[in-house]
Amino acid sequence: MTRWLGWLAALGLLAGLAMGFGYAPKDAVQGNVQRIMYVHVPSILTAYLAFALVLIASLGYLFTRRTGWDRLAHSAGEIGVVFTGLTLVSGSIWGKPTWGTWWTWDARLTSTAILFLIYVGYLLLRGMVDDQERGARYAAVVGILGAVNIPIVHFSVLWWRTLHQPPTILSPERAPVSASIGLALLVNGVAFALLFLYLLSKRLALRRLEEEIRA
């Protein structure tokens, strides 16, 4: 099952590369730099997905006390941090040639960075509690509090004046993206989702192994 997911993800990423570089045209205003979008946007969407899973799994753990939920929260949280980091780095590399700056303290960038820091803290907390069960409980509480921040992050771009353009995909009105670019973005998004599922199942297996050894 995991192996199949892995191959599917690899295939999807290859297709995404082909779509991003071969099929999709360069952007009228930005030129080829715009192709960074095919990494940047799927990364943050994957991260949001991961953090949503953390919230669900945290609530699930607190109510049922099944280790499976904690395993899911831990694994999704770690992968979410990786993808948020990727979003920040790729966004920064995209920002330099287009906006003319690596980083600016506008609402969207700042709140994404804060999201990253909150979940880094979440992972650190897990590492610092010796008692497994207690660590799971505490992490679940932090996971819930962290998730409350996510809507603030996402809606910030809609109500704050910012240098970051409004979201293309998750905006209330359909944004004007030409069909070929939209399709390439979709393929890359699906590929990243597959990759996320593959990494998640790998991370879950690793966590299960850790528990067996500790037992």
Partner: protein
């Protein structure tokens, strides 16, 4: 508008390094832990 291929490749390169590195880490830890578990079972 210049192409800035350097920035594009840097972004894709870093993404590849990060994702591949994370994947390798998972595989390596998994292998180490499986070996540890196998050794323990032999001892028993």
């Amino acid at each position: 508008m210049p192409d800035h291929w350097g920035f594009v490749f840097a972004a894709y390169g870093i993404a590849a390094v990060v994702l591949f590195g994370y994947w390798r880490r998972l595989i390596r830890l998994h292998a180490e832990l499986s070996a540890l578990k196998a050794r323990r079972e032999v001892k028993r």
